[in-house]
Protein backbone atom coordinates (compact mmCIF):
# COMPACT_ATOMS: atom_id res chain seq x y z
CA UNK A 1 0.00 0.00 0.00
CA UNK A 2 1.31 3.42 -0.91
CA UNK A 3 1.71 5.77 1.96
CA UNK A 4 2.29 9.47 2.47
CA UNK A 5 4.50 10.86 5.18
CA UNK A 6 3.10 13.90 6.98
CA UNK A 7 5.45 15.38 9.59
CA UNK A 8 6.99 11.98 10.20
CA UNK A 9 3.68 10.11 10.49
CA UNK A 10 3.00 7.59 7.74
CA UNK A 11 -0.53 8.03 6.36
CA UNK A 12 -1.86 5.09 4.36
CA UNK A 13 -3.31 5.83 0.93
CA UNK A 14 -6.58 4.24 1.88
CA UNK A 15 -10.06 5.22 2.96
CA UNK A 16 -12.64 4.70 5.67
CA UNK A 17 -15.76 3.05 4.30
CA UNK A 18 -18.95 4.29 5.94
CA UNK A 19 -22.62 3.48 5.76
CA UNK A 20 -25.98 5.19 5.77
CA UNK A 21 -27.67 5.17 9.16
CA UNK A 22 -30.76 6.53 10.85
CA UNK A 23 -30.01 9.00 13.59
CA UNK A 24 -31.67 11.23 16.12
CA UNK A 25 -30.58 13.74 18.74
CA UNK A 26 -31.79 14.71 22.19
CA UNK A 27 -31.16 17.53 24.58
CA UNK A 28 -31.08 16.37 28.19
CA UNK A 29 -31.18 19.01 30.92
CA UNK A 30 -31.04 18.91 34.72
CA UNK A 31 -30.80 21.25 37.69
CA UNK A 32 -27.05 20.68 37.92
CA UNK A 33 -24.50 20.11 35.17
CA UNK A 34 -23.26 16.85 36.64
CA UNK A 35 -26.80 15.40 36.71
CA UNK A 36 -27.37 16.29 33.06
CA UNK A 37 -24.07 14.59 32.25
CA UNK A 38 -25.01 11.61 34.39
CA UNK A 39 -28.32 11.11 32.59
CA UNK A 40 -26.56 11.41 29.23
CA UNK A 41 -23.78 9.02 30.17
CA UNK A 42 -26.28 6.46 31.49
CA UNK A 43 -28.46 6.74 28.41
CA UNK A 44 -25.58 6.31 26.01
CA UNK A 45 -24.06 3.43 27.96
CA UNK A 46 -23.83 0.06 26.21
CA UNK A 47 -24.23 1.90 22.92
CA UNK A 48 -20.94 1.15 21.23
CA UNK A 49 -21.95 -0.89 18.23
CA UNK A 50 -25.18 -1.76 16.44
CA UNK A 51 -23.92 -5.34 16.24
CA UNK A 52 -24.50 -6.03 19.90
CA UNK A 53 -26.13 -2.96 21.40
CA UNK A 54 -28.94 -2.12 18.99
CA UNK A 55 -27.65 1.40 18.50
CA UNK A 56 -24.54 3.51 18.69
CA UNK A 57 -24.90 6.40 21.10
CA UNK A 58 -22.77 9.14 22.54
CA UNK A 59 -22.55 12.69 23.79
CA UNK A 60 -22.17 15.28 21.07
CA UNK A 61 -21.54 18.31 23.28
CA UNK A 62 -22.52 20.13 26.42
CA UNK A 63 -24.99 22.99 26.17
CA UNK A 64 -24.97 26.25 28.10
CA UNK A 65 -28.23 27.22 29.86
CA UNK A 66 -29.02 29.81 27.19
CA UNK A 67 -28.97 27.06 24.55
CA UNK A 68 -31.58 24.83 26.20
CA UNK A 69 -35.39 25.17 26.18
CA UNK A 70 -35.71 25.36 29.97
CA UNK A 71 -32.63 27.52 30.62
CA UNK A 72 -30.76 24.81 32.54
CA UNK A 73 -27.46 23.13 31.80
CA UNK A 74 -27.82 20.52 29.06
CA UNK A 75 -26.12 17.78 27.11
CA UNK A 76 -26.78 16.86 23.50
CA UNK A 77 -26.89 13.15 22.81
CA UNK A 78 -26.87 11.42 19.41
CA UNK A 79 -28.24 7.94 18.66
CA UNK A 80 -27.57 5.96 15.49
CA UNK A 81 -29.21 2.73 14.31
CA UNK A 82 -29.62 0.75 11.13
CA UNK A 83 -33.40 1.12 10.91
CA UNK A 84 -36.05 3.59 12.01
CA UNK A 85 -37.84 0.85 13.95
CA UNK A 86 -34.73 -0.08 15.92
CA UNK A 87 -33.88 3.58 16.53
CA UNK A 88 -37.37 4.21 17.91
CA UNK A 89 -37.12 1.18 20.17
CA UNK A 90 -33.70 2.14 21.49
CA UNK A 91 -34.72 5.77 21.99
CA UNK A 92 -37.85 4.84 23.90
CA UNK A 93 -36.15 2.28 26.14
CA UNK A 94 -33.12 4.41 26.89
CA UNK A 95 -35.10 7.57 27.68
CA UNK A 96 -37.54 5.60 29.85
CA UNK A 97 -34.87 3.73 31.79
CA UNK A 98 -32.04 6.26 31.96
CA UNK A 99 -33.39 9.82 31.58
CA UNK A 100 -36.84 9.58 33.12
CA UNK A 101 -35.22 7.97 36.16
CA UNK A 102 -32.47 10.56 36.60
CA UNK A 103 -33.11 13.27 39.27
CA UNK A 104 -34.40 16.57 37.93
CA UNK A 105 -33.99 15.58 34.30
CA UNK A 106 -35.93 16.84 31.29
CA UNK A 107 -35.64 15.77 27.68
CA UNK A 108 -36.13 17.72 24.47
CA UNK A 109 -35.72 17.26 20.73
CA UNK A 110 -32.13 17.79 19.67
CA UNK A 111 -32.77 17.65 15.96
CA UNK A 112 -35.36 19.03 13.56
CA UNK A 113 -35.50 16.22 11.03
CA UNK A 114 -37.58 15.56 7.95
CA UNK A 115 -39.40 12.91 9.96
CA UNK A 116 -39.98 12.49 13.67
CA UNK A 117 -39.64 9.83 16.34
CA UNK A 118 -41.82 9.45 19.42
CA UNK A 119 -40.12 10.82 22.51
CA UNK A 120 -42.56 12.03 25.18
CA UNK A 121 -45.35 10.48 23.15
CA UNK A 122 -43.90 7.10 24.11
CA UNK A 123 -42.77 7.83 27.67
CA UNK A 124 -45.92 9.68 28.75
CA UNK A 125 -47.75 6.45 29.59
CA UNK A 126 -45.56 6.17 32.67
CA UNK A 127 -47.86 8.89 34.02
CA UNK A 128 -50.71 6.37 34.26
CA UNK A 129 -53.27 8.98 33.29
CA UNK A 130 -51.81 11.82 35.37
CA UNK A 131 -49.58 13.04 32.54
CA UNK A 132 -50.30 16.54 31.20
CA UNK A 133 -49.80 17.76 27.65
CA UNK A 134 -48.69 21.33 27.15
CA UNK A 135 -48.39 22.86 23.69
CA UNK A 136 -46.29 26.02 23.58
CA UNK A 137 -45.76 27.64 20.22
CA UNK A 138 -45.31 24.83 17.74
CA UNK A 139 -43.97 22.36 20.30
CA UNK A 140 -45.77 19.87 22.47
CA UNK A 141 -44.42 18.79 25.82
CA UNK A 142 -45.50 16.05 28.18
CA UNK A 143 -45.35 16.56 31.91
CA UNK A 144 -45.19 13.24 33.73
CA UNK A 145 -45.59 13.33 37.52
CA UNK A 146 -42.62 11.66 39.25
CA UNK A 147 -41.42 11.51 42.84
CA UNK A 148 -39.21 14.62 42.66
CA UNK A 149 -41.77 16.69 40.75
CA UNK A 150 -42.35 16.33 37.04
CA UNK A 151 -40.47 14.78 34.16
CA UNK A 152 -40.84 17.12 31.19
CA UNK A 153 -40.33 15.56 27.80
CA UNK A 154 -40.94 16.97 24.33
CA UNK A 155 -43.46 14.89 22.39
CA UNK A 156 -41.23 14.09 19.44
CA UNK A 157 -37.71 14.52 18.17
CA UNK A 158 -36.33 14.64 14.66
CA UNK A 159 -35.05 11.73 12.60
CA UNK A 160 -32.49 11.96 9.85
CA UNK A 161 -31.95 9.27 7.25
CA UNK A 162 -28.81 10.97 5.96
CA UNK A 163 -26.63 10.05 8.92
CA UNK A 164 -23.30 8.34 8.32
CA UNK A 165 -21.87 5.61 10.51
CA UNK A 166 -18.50 3.95 10.44
CA UNK A 167 -16.06 6.73 9.78
CA UNK A 168 -12.83 5.52 11.36
CA UNK A 169 -9.15 5.99 11.96
CA UNK A 170 -6.61 3.25 12.74
CA UNK A 171 -3.87 4.70 14.91
CA UNK A 172 -0.70 2.63 14.93
CA UNK A 173 2.24 3.12 17.27
CA UNK A 174 5.49 1.58 18.36
CA UNK A 175 4.11 0.70 21.79
CA UNK A 176 0.89 0.93 23.76
CA UNK A 177 1.53 4.19 25.64
CA UNK A 178 2.27 6.54 22.69
CA UNK A 179 -0.46 4.90 20.63
CA UNK A 180 -2.97 5.62 23.38
CA UNK A 181 -1.62 9.18 23.68
CA UNK A 182 -2.20 9.72 19.95
CA UNK A 183 -5.69 8.23 20.13
CA UNK A 184 -6.55 10.43 23.11
CA UNK A 185 -5.32 13.50 21.25
CA UNK A 186 -7.52 12.55 18.28
CA UNK A 187 -10.55 11.98 20.52
CA UNK A 188 -10.06 15.37 22.17
CA UNK A 189 -9.87 17.09 18.77
CA UNK A 190 -12.89 15.24 17.38
CA UNK A 191 -14.93 16.04 20.50
CA UNK A 192 -14.91 19.68 19.43
CA UNK A 193 -16.52 18.83 16.07
CA UNK A 194 -20.33 19.23 16.17
CA UNK A 195 -22.82 16.53 15.12
CA UNK A 196 -20.52 13.54 15.64
CA UNK A 197 -19.97 10.93 18.30
CA UNK A 198 -17.31 8.34 18.99
CA UNK A 199 -19.38 5.53 20.50
CA UNK A 200 -16.64 3.32 21.94
CA UNK A 201 -15.23 3.63 25.49
CA UNK A 202 -13.64 7.06 25.78
CA UNK A 203 -14.02 7.26 22.00
CA UNK A 204 -11.47 4.47 21.43
CA UNK A 205 -11.84 0.84 20.33
CA UNK A 206 -8.95 -1.55 20.85
CA UNK A 207 -10.74 -4.54 19.35
CA UNK A 208 -11.25 -3.59 15.73
CA UNK A 209 -13.27 -6.27 14.00
CA UNK A 210 -13.73 -7.83 10.61
CA UNK A 211 -17.01 -9.11 9.22
CA UNK A 212 -17.64 -12.82 9.87
CA UNK A 213 -15.96 -15.52 11.90
CA UNK A 214 -14.99 -19.15 11.76
CA UNK A 215 -17.62 -19.53 14.48
CA UNK A 216 -21.28 -18.51 14.35
CA UNK A 217 -20.61 -14.82 14.95
CA UNK A 218 -21.25 -11.71 12.85
CA UNK A 219 -17.86 -10.18 13.64
CA UNK A 220 -14.51 -11.29 14.94
CA UNK A 221 -11.07 -9.92 15.63
CA UNK A 222 -9.30 -8.19 12.79
CA UNK A 223 -6.17 -10.37 12.85
CA UNK A 224 -4.43 -8.36 10.15
CA UNK A 225 -4.11 -5.54 12.69
CA UNK A 226 -3.27 -7.68 15.74
CA UNK A 227 0.42 -7.13 16.47
CA UNK A 228 0.85 -10.47 18.26
CA UNK A 229 -0.18 -12.28 15.07
CA UNK A 230 2.16 -10.31 12.82
CA UNK A 231 4.30 -13.32 12.01
CA UNK A 232 1.40 -15.74 11.76
CA UNK A 233 -1.18 -14.10 9.46
CA UNK A 234 -1.17 -11.89 6.40
CA UNK A 235 -0.54 -8.88 8.62
CA UNK A 236 -1.18 -5.27 7.69
CA UNK A 237 1.34 -4.11 10.27
CA UNK A 238 4.94 -3.04 9.81
CA UNK A 239 7.74 -4.24 12.03
CA UNK A 240 7.80 -1.02 14.05
CA UNK A 241 4.16 -1.29 15.10
CA UNK A 242 3.22 -2.99 18.35
CA UNK A 243 -0.15 -1.41 19.16
CA UNK A 244 -3.22 -0.35 17.16
CA UNK A 245 -6.24 1.60 18.35
CA UNK A 246 -9.32 2.54 16.35
CA UNK A 247 -11.57 5.56 16.55
CA UNK A 248 -15.03 5.01 15.09
CA UNK A 249 -17.01 8.09 14.14
CA UNK A 250 -20.74 8.44 13.51
CA UNK A 251 -22.11 11.74 12.27
CA UNK A 252 -25.41 13.33 11.39
CA UNK A 253 -24.01 14.23 7.97
CA UNK A 254 -21.20 13.15 5.67
CA UNK A 255 -19.60 16.54 6.13
CA UNK A 256 -19.57 16.17 9.90
CA UNK A 257 -17.79 12.80 9.68
CA UNK A 258 -15.24 14.23 7.25
CA UNK A 259 -14.62 17.18 9.55
CA UNK A 260 -14.16 14.83 12.50
CA UNK A 261 -11.67 12.62 10.66
CA UNK A 262 -9.80 15.69 9.49
CA UNK A 263 -9.56 16.95 13.08
CA UNK A 264 -8.42 13.52 14.31
CA UNK A 265 -5.71 13.17 11.67
CA UNK A 266 -4.45 16.68 12.39
CA UNK A 267 -4.20 15.94 16.11
CA UNK A 268 -2.26 12.71 15.55
CA UNK A 269 0.09 14.36 13.09
CA UNK A 270 0.61 17.29 15.43
CA UNK A 271 1.65 14.97 18.27
CA UNK A 272 4.21 13.38 15.95
CA UNK A 273 5.74 9.89 15.74
CA UNK A 274 8.02 10.20 18.79
CA UNK A 275 5.29 10.95 21.31
CA UNK A 276 2.39 9.38 19.42
CA UNK A 277 1.57 7.26 16.38
CA UNK A 278 3.98 6.30 13.62
CA UNK A 279 1.27 5.40 11.14
CA UNK A 280 -2.39 6.20 10.37
CA UNK A 281 -4.77 3.95 8.48
CA UNK A 282 -8.48 3.38 8.03
CA UNK A 283 -10.77 0.39 7.79
CA UNK A 284 -12.76 -0.53 4.72
CA UNK A 285 -14.31 -3.49 2.93
CA UNK A 286 -12.82 -2.83 -0.47
CA UNK A 287 -15.28 -0.06 -1.17
CA UNK A 288 -18.10 -2.37 -2.23
CA UNK A 289 -20.33 -2.23 0.84
CA UNK A 290 -20.49 1.34 2.06
CA UNK A 291 -21.47 4.31 -0.12
CA UNK A 292 -19.27 6.80 1.73
CA UNK A 293 -15.49 6.70 1.23
CA UNK A 294 -13.35 9.05 3.30
CA UNK A 295 -9.86 9.05 1.78
CA UNK A 296 -7.14 9.90 4.27
CA UNK A 297 -5.10 11.72 1.66
CA UNK A 298 -7.98 14.16 1.15
CA UNK A 299 -8.30 14.78 4.88
CA UNK A 300 -4.66 15.14 5.89
CA UNK A 301 -3.46 18.55 7.15
Amino acid sequence: MRELIVKGVRVDDTFAEAFEMRATALTITADAAHWARQAAVTMTGFGTSVIGCGCEAGIDRELAPKETPDGRFGVRVLLFAVSTTELQKQLQNRVAQCVLTSPGSACYAGLQGEESLKLGNAVRFFGDGWQISKRLGGKRYWRVPVMDGEFVCEATTGLTKRAVGGGNLLIMGASAQPTLAAAEAAVKAISAVPDVIMPFPGGIARSGSKVGSKYKARASTNEAYCPTLRGTVNSALDEDIASVLEIVIDGLTREAVAAAMRAGIAAVVKLGPKRGAVRLGAGNYGGKLGPYHFHLKDLRP
Binding site: P69, D70, G71, R72, K134, L136, Y141, R143, E150, V152
Partner: protein
Amino acid sequence: MKPLVLTLREQPEQRLDLSPLVPHRLAGKTATEIDGLELQTTRRRVTVGDVFRIAPGDPQGMRIENACDRLDLVGHGMAGGEIVVEGDVGNQVGRLMTGGRLTIKGSVGLWAASGMRGGQIEIEDTAGDWLGGPLGGEMAGMRGGVVVVRGNAGDRAGDRMRRGTIIVEGNAGNHAGSRMIAGTVIICRTAGSLPGYLMRRGTIVLGHGCDEWSPTFLDCGVHDLVASKLLAAFVRDYSARAAAVFRSPLRRFAGDTAVLGKGEIFCAER
Protein backbone atom coordinates in the same frame (compact mmCIF):
# COMPACT_ATOMS: atom_id res chain seq x y z
CA MET B 1 -44.74 49.08 0.48
CA LYS B 2 -46.95 51.38 2.52
CA PRO B 3 -49.93 49.84 4.32
CA LEU B 4 -53.58 50.13 3.37
CA VAL B 5 -55.05 52.73 5.74
CA LEU B 6 -58.76 52.99 6.52
CA THR B 7 -59.72 56.03 8.58
CA LEU B 8 -63.18 56.10 10.13
CA ARG B 9 -64.91 59.34 9.14
CA GLU B 10 -67.29 59.42 12.12
CA GLN B 11 -69.01 57.09 14.54
CA PRO B 12 -71.39 54.99 12.39
CA GLU B 13 -75.13 54.98 13.02
CA GLN B 14 -75.28 51.20 13.13
CA ARG B 15 -72.86 48.47 14.27
CA LEU B 16 -70.66 47.41 11.37
CA ASP B 17 -69.42 43.98 10.36
CA LEU B 18 -65.77 44.44 9.36
CA SER B 19 -65.17 40.78 8.54
CA PRO B 20 -64.54 41.52 4.81
CA LEU B 21 -61.61 43.78 5.78
CA VAL B 22 -58.88 41.22 6.36
CA PRO B 23 -55.68 40.95 4.32
CA HIS B 24 -56.44 37.70 2.52
CA ARG B 25 -59.90 38.88 1.45
CA LEU B 26 -58.61 42.23 0.22
CA ALA B 27 -55.63 40.81 -1.68
CA GLY B 28 -55.81 41.77 -5.34
CA LYS B 29 -58.73 44.18 -4.88
CA THR B 30 -58.53 47.72 -6.21
CA ALA B 31 -59.35 50.74 -4.06
CA THR B 32 -62.67 51.02 -5.89
CA GLU B 33 -63.55 47.42 -5.18
CA ILE B 34 -62.65 47.86 -1.50
CA ASP B 35 -64.68 51.06 -1.45
CA GLY B 36 -67.80 49.13 -2.47
CA LEU B 37 -67.63 46.33 0.10
CA GLU B 38 -70.72 46.17 2.27
CA LEU B 39 -70.37 46.35 6.05
CA GLN B 40 -73.94 46.90 7.31
CA THR B 41 -75.61 44.84 10.02
CA THR B 42 -79.08 46.30 9.47
CA ARG B 43 -81.17 46.62 6.32
CA ARG B 44 -79.57 49.97 5.58
CA ARG B 45 -76.68 49.43 3.14
CA VAL B 46 -73.30 50.81 4.22
CA THR B 47 -70.11 50.38 2.21
CA VAL B 48 -66.49 50.84 3.17
CA GLY B 49 -66.39 54.10 1.26
CA ASP B 50 -69.36 55.44 3.20
CA VAL B 51 -67.63 55.19 6.55
CA PHE B 52 -63.88 55.10 5.84
CA ARG B 53 -61.42 57.30 4.03
CA ILE B 54 -59.18 54.91 2.11
CA ALA B 55 -55.46 55.44 1.59
CA PRO B 56 -54.52 52.64 -0.87
CA GLY B 57 -51.66 50.37 0.06
CA ASP B 58 -50.68 46.81 0.79
CA PRO B 59 -53.53 44.98 2.56
CA GLN B 60 -50.94 42.64 4.13
CA GLY B 61 -50.14 45.54 6.42
CA MET B 62 -53.47 47.25 7.19
CA ARG B 63 -54.19 50.11 9.55
CA ILE B 64 -57.63 51.11 10.79
CA GLU B 65 -57.56 54.57 12.33
CA ASN B 66 -59.98 56.54 14.48
CA ALA B 67 -61.78 53.27 15.30
CA CYS B 68 -64.73 53.00 17.69
CA ASP B 69 -66.61 50.32 19.60
CA ARG B 70 -69.22 49.94 16.87
CA LEU B 71 -66.77 48.09 14.66
CA ASP B 72 -67.38 44.38 15.15
CA LEU B 73 -65.57 41.32 13.78
CA VAL B 74 -62.32 43.15 13.10
CA GLY B 75 -59.77 40.61 11.84
CA HIS B 76 -62.45 37.90 11.46
CA GLY B 77 -60.88 34.74 10.06
CA MET B 78 -57.60 36.56 9.49
CA ALA B 79 -55.07 34.12 8.02
CA GLY B 80 -51.92 36.22 7.76
CA GLY B 81 -50.49 39.70 7.46
CA GLU B 82 -51.01 42.42 10.02
CA ILE B 83 -53.80 44.71 11.12
CA VAL B 84 -53.18 47.62 13.50
CA VAL B 85 -56.22 49.41 14.88
CA GLU B 86 -55.95 52.84 16.47
CA GLY B 87 -58.76 53.15 18.98
CA ASP B 88 -61.39 50.85 20.48
CA VAL B 89 -63.25 48.14 18.61
CA GLY B 90 -66.46 46.21 19.25
CA ASN B 91 -67.28 42.56 19.66
CA GLN B 92 -65.64 39.41 18.33
CA VAL B 93 -62.33 40.97 17.33
CA GLY B 94 -60.07 38.30 15.83
CA ARG B 95 -62.83 35.69 15.83
CA LEU B 96 -61.77 32.47 14.05
CA MET B 97 -58.38 33.98 13.28
CA THR B 98 -55.84 31.43 12.02
CA GLY B 99 -52.69 33.48 11.50
CA GLY B 100 -51.09 36.89 11.31
CA ARG B 101 -50.88 39.63 13.88
CA LEU B 102 -53.70 41.86 15.09
CA THR B 103 -52.98 44.84 17.32
CA ILE B 104 -55.73 46.90 18.95
CA LYS B 105 -54.46 50.15 20.44
CA GLY B 106 -57.51 50.49 22.64
CA SER B 107 -60.20 48.36 24.28
CA VAL B 108 -62.23 45.54 22.77
CA GLY B 109 -65.75 44.28 23.41
CA LEU B 110 -67.17 40.81 24.02
CA TRP B 111 -65.85 37.54 22.61
CA ALA B 112 -62.47 38.82 21.49
CA ALA B 113 -60.40 35.99 19.95
CA SER B 114 -63.47 33.76 19.98
CA GLY B 115 -62.65 30.44 18.34
CA MET B 116 -59.19 31.69 17.42
CA ARG B 117 -56.91 28.98 15.98
CA GLY B 118 -53.60 30.72 15.36
CA GLY B 119 -51.73 33.99 15.11
CA GLN B 120 -51.35 36.70 17.70
CA ILE B 121 -53.70 39.36 19.08
CA GLU B 122 -52.47 42.19 21.24
CA ILE B 123 -55.01 44.38 23.04
CA GLU B 124 -53.41 47.42 24.60
CA ASP B 125 -56.29 48.32 26.90
CA THR B 126 -59.11 46.18 28.29
CA ALA B 127 -61.02 43.20 26.91
CA GLY B 128 -64.70 42.51 27.57
CA ASP B 129 -66.30 39.29 28.78
CA TRP B 130 -65.84 35.91 27.12
CA LEU B 131 -62.30 36.58 25.90
CA GLY B 132 -61.47 33.64 23.60
CA GLY B 133 -64.80 32.03 24.39
CA PRO B 134 -67.21 30.17 22.14
CA LEU B 135 -70.43 31.60 20.78
CA GLY B 136 -73.68 29.92 21.69
CA GLY B 137 -73.79 26.30 20.53
CA GLU B 138 -70.06 25.95 19.93
CA MET B 139 -68.22 23.15 21.72
CA ALA B 140 -64.87 24.90 22.11
CA GLY B 141 -63.56 28.43 22.42
CA MET B 142 -60.02 29.41 21.53
CA ARG B 143 -58.08 26.60 19.79
CA GLY B 144 -54.64 28.10 19.25
CA GLY B 145 -52.59 31.25 19.00
CA VAL B 146 -51.67 33.84 21.59
CA VAL B 147 -53.76 36.71 22.98
CA VAL B 148 -52.18 39.41 25.13
CA VAL B 149 -54.35 41.91 27.00
CA ARG B 150 -52.26 44.70 28.49
CA GLY B 151 -55.13 45.87 30.68
CA ASN B 152 -57.95 43.99 32.40
CA ALA B 153 -60.24 41.30 31.04
CA GLY B 154 -63.90 40.71 31.82
CA ASP B 155 -65.66 37.61 33.08
CA ARG B 156 -65.13 34.12 31.68
CA ALA B 157 -61.78 34.79 29.99
CA GLY B 158 -60.72 31.56 28.28
CA ASP B 159 -64.12 29.91 28.54
CA ARG B 160 -64.10 26.45 26.94
CA MET B 161 -60.58 27.08 25.69
CA ARG B 162 -59.01 24.08 24.00
CA ARG B 163 -55.49 25.21 23.06
CA GLY B 164 -53.37 28.35 22.88
CA THR B 165 -52.34 30.99 25.38
CA ILE B 166 -54.17 33.97 26.89
CA ILE B 167 -52.15 36.51 28.85
CA VAL B 168 -53.94 39.20 30.85
CA GLU B 169 -51.45 41.63 32.33
CA GLY B 170 -54.05 43.24 34.58
CA ASN B 171 -56.97 41.73 36.49
CA ALA B 172 -59.54 39.28 35.20
CA GLY B 173 -63.21 39.01 36.06
CA ASN B 174 -65.11 36.09 37.53
CA HIS B 175 -64.80 32.51 36.33
CA ALA B 176 -61.54 32.98 34.42
CA GLY B 177 -60.77 29.79 32.51
CA SER B 178 -64.26 28.42 33.07
CA ARG B 179 -64.96 25.07 31.40
CA MET B 180 -61.43 24.96 29.98
CA ILE B 181 -60.65 21.86 27.94
CA ALA B 182 -56.90 22.62 27.68
CA GLY B 183 -54.58 25.54 26.99
CA THR B 184 -53.03 28.20 29.19
CA VAL B 185 -54.49 31.34 30.79
CA ILE B 186 -52.15 33.67 32.66
CA ILE B 187 -53.61 36.45 34.82
CA CYS B 188 -50.72 38.59 35.99
CA ARG B 189 -52.68 40.32 38.75
CA THR B 190 -55.90 39.21 40.46
CA ALA B 191 -58.69 37.04 39.11
CA GLY B 192 -62.28 37.42 40.27
CA SER B 193 -64.31 34.68 41.90
CA LEU B 194 -63.99 30.99 41.11
CA PRO B 195 -61.23 30.85 38.51
CA GLY B 196 -61.16 27.53 36.67
CA TYR B 197 -64.87 26.94 37.27
CA LEU B 198 -65.64 23.49 35.82
CA MET B 199 -62.32 23.30 33.97
CA ARG B 200 -61.42 19.78 32.77
CA ARG B 201 -57.79 20.20 31.80
CA GLY B 202 -55.48 23.13 31.12
CA THR B 203 -53.42 25.58 33.13
CA ILE B 204 -54.37 28.85 34.79
CA VAL B 205 -51.64 30.99 36.34
CA LEU B 206 -52.51 33.73 38.82
CA GLY B 207 -49.96 36.38 39.71
CA HIS B 208 -51.90 37.75 42.71
CA GLY B 209 -54.48 35.12 43.58
CA CYS B 210 -58.21 35.56 43.21
CA ASP B 211 -61.22 37.02 45.06
CA GLU B 212 -62.71 33.63 45.90
CA TRP B 213 -61.36 30.11 45.50
CA SER B 214 -63.57 27.29 44.38
CA PRO B 215 -63.80 24.59 47.09
CA THR B 216 -63.44 21.96 44.39
CA PHE B 217 -59.76 22.80 43.78
CA LEU B 218 -57.23 20.84 45.84
CA ASP B 219 -54.02 22.32 47.20
CA CYS B 220 -51.02 20.32 45.93
CA GLY B 221 -48.31 22.47 47.55
CA VAL B 222 -45.63 24.83 46.32
CA HIS B 223 -43.37 23.64 43.51
CA ASP B 224 -40.58 24.94 41.32
CA LEU B 225 -41.29 23.00 38.15
CA VAL B 226 -39.46 22.73 34.84
CA ALA B 227 -42.81 23.41 33.18
CA SER B 228 -42.75 26.89 34.76
CA LYS B 229 -39.41 27.57 33.12
CA LEU B 230 -40.77 26.49 29.73
CA LEU B 231 -43.88 28.64 30.17
CA ALA B 232 -41.78 31.62 31.26
CA ALA B 233 -39.49 31.21 28.25
CA PHE B 234 -42.48 31.00 25.92
CA VAL B 235 -44.40 34.01 27.26
CA ARG B 236 -41.31 36.21 27.61
CA ASP B 237 -41.55 37.13 23.92
CA TYR B 238 -45.09 38.38 24.44
CA SER B 239 -45.13 39.79 27.96
CA ALA B 240 -42.29 40.44 30.38
CA ARG B 241 -44.88 40.91 33.11
CA ALA B 242 -46.28 37.43 32.54
CA ALA B 243 -42.79 35.91 32.50
CA ALA B 244 -42.10 37.58 35.87
CA VAL B 245 -44.94 35.61 37.47
CA PHE B 246 -42.86 32.44 37.08
CA ARG B 247 -39.79 33.82 38.86
CA SER B 248 -40.65 32.18 42.17
CA PRO B 249 -42.11 28.75 43.01
CA LEU B 250 -45.87 28.52 42.49
CA ARG B 251 -48.59 26.83 44.54
CA ARG B 252 -50.46 24.25 42.50
CA PHE B 253 -54.18 23.66 42.88
CA ALA B 254 -55.68 20.70 41.01
CA GLY B 255 -59.22 20.83 39.72
CA ASP B 256 -61.93 21.36 38.99
CA THR B 257 -62.80 18.16 40.81
CA ALA B 258 -66.46 18.91 40.25
CA VAL B 259 -65.73 17.64 36.75
CA LEU B 260 -62.69 15.74 35.36
CA GLY B 261 -60.26 17.50 37.72
CA LYS B 262 -57.16 17.25 35.55
CA GLY B 263 -56.68 20.99 35.24
CA GLU B 264 -54.48 23.12 37.44
CA ILE B 265 -54.19 26.63 38.81
CA PHE B 266 -50.72 27.88 39.66
CA CYS B 267 -50.73 30.75 42.11
CA ALA B 268 -47.76 32.91 43.04
CA GLU B 269 -47.02 33.03 46.76
CA ARG B 270 -47.18 36.61 48.05
